[in-house]
């Protein structure tokens, strides 16, 4: 099953999710997180390196969905926590959907417009009071304006890119050498973003049946091993 989701420029992950949910194709718990992620990452690639924020925002939502999904996958009946998380996400989707409708209403008003007057009235110079400013203030104001024009220092540039494919490939390599501790995999991530992508990639591998995880008891280290090992 492949979802082709068109994502407009700067359109957020909620937009995609809303689109999917509204079309009634799936419930929040039924979303294949990996699929949407790949879809979105493909789109981000098209946008070029200019949208690291969009990428991280999407991954945050992805992580949330994963969490909800993990709660759903647990053997015990739906926990209070899961119900609350789902309720919260549905509230957010409702609010987003309502404001989208409001935006469409505004767009429909596109042909209406009001103008203010632009002609300007003034008095003869001799009737006008003189400005209470000093020449030095004028120079200062101009300096201030020029300063603002200076190019901003680029901050928060993402140093490296992580793609689902790369991470997935890396995990397969690990698996080729036998089992390993999940923590060691996450410890090698440069930042939270990479950790989330790694986690997503691992889940996808488990879904594909390429990997399996075991845990001796609660809070014990989680062991990742090749499926069928």
């Amino acid at each position: 099953m492949t979802h082709t989701v068109a994502v407009g420029e700067f359109e957020g992950p909620l937009g995609i999710l809303l689109d999917l949910v509204e079309r009634g194709r799936l419930e929040v718990t039924a979303i294949s997180v990996a699929e949407i992620t790949e879809n979105y990452l493909g789109r981000i690639k098209q946008l070029g390196p200019s949208s690291p924020e969009a990428l991280s925002e999407f991954l945050q939502l992805g992580a949330r969905l994963l969490y909800i999904k993990s709660l759903a996958l647990l053997p015990q009946p739906a926990s209070e926590e899961q119900t609350e998380e789902l309720r919260q996400l549905n509230l957010e989707l409702e609010e987003y959907s309502r404001l989208q409708a409001a935006a469409r209403e505004l767009a429909r008003r596109g042909s209406l417009r009001s103008w203010h007057r632009t002609a300007t009235d003034t008095l003869p110079p001799q009737e006008l009071p003189l400005p209470k400013i000093e020449l030095s203030q004028l120079a200062e104001a101009f300096t201030r304006a020029l300063k603002r024009l200076e190019p901003e220092r680029s901050v928060g540039v993402i140093q490296h890119h992580v793609s689902l494919e790369t991470v997935s490939h890396r995990i397969r390599e690990h698996l080729g050498r036998g089992s390993f501790d999940l923590q060691s995999l996450l410890d090698n991530c440069h930042d939270r973003l990479e950790a989330i992508v790694t986690f997503l990639a691992l889940l996808e591998l488990i879904r594909e049946g390429a990997a399996q995880v075991t845990q001796a008891n609660q809070f014990a280290p989680i062991n990742v091993e090749p499926a069928g090992a």
Partner: protein
């Protein structure tokens, strides 16, 4: 020369003003009380109803503007195109600020689920939104609200003309 009533003098002042004026400023300019000024403004609004002008109001500040119904005529005169210049994400952001404002950047981003710095800078530079103060939250982030320019852009005389927010239920 016959005296003009307060309503007429207010209209004349609003005509030459370069920006929206508060009731206090209008009262000061006409030498009337705040109460009389408000009453005369209400009368002006009624008088203008069938004319080509309207009394625009936002946050208690008034400005004379053209009737939204005259938009086509004025576009032809100014040789301007219809508003098609706002992208979908821009309209979405404006709707959030209009219906949920004043609010901070992070509150806007919480609804949109996407970083909105560039979008906000763009809307600010076009004068469609304005900074209206600081939130009391930690870090005192800037609060954004829609502007008089926003109202005019969509042919709204005041916030009262803003259509009620549609109640769309998400079918999950």
């Amino acid at each position: 020369m016959p005296e003009l009533d307060l309503t007429a003098r207010l209209q004349a002042v609003l005509f030459v003003a370069t920006e929206p004026l508060s009731t206090e400023r209008l009262a000061e300019a006409t030498g009337a009380s705040a109460k009389d000024t408000l009453a005369a403004l209400a009368q002006l609004e009624v008088q203008l109803a069938s004319t080509g002008l309207r009394l625009g109001e936002l946050d208690g500040k008034y400005r004379l503007i053209t009737a939204p119904e005259a938009a086509d005529t004025i576009r032809r005169f100014l040789r301007e195109e219809a508003n098609s210049d706002l992208s979908r994400p821009a309209l979405e952001t404006l709707a959030i600020v209009a219906y949920r404002g004043p609010l901070t950047k992070s509150a806007i981003e919480a609804v949109r689920g996407v970083a909105s710095d560039t979008m906000l800078r763009n809307l600010l530079s076009r004068g469609l939104i304005t900074e209206v103060g600081k939130s009391s939250e930690p870090g005192r982030p800037v609060l954004y609200s829609i502007s008089q320019t926003f109202l005019q852009h969509f042919g709204l005389t005041s916030l009262r003309d803003l259509p009620p927010i549609p109640e769309v239920a998400t079918e999950a």
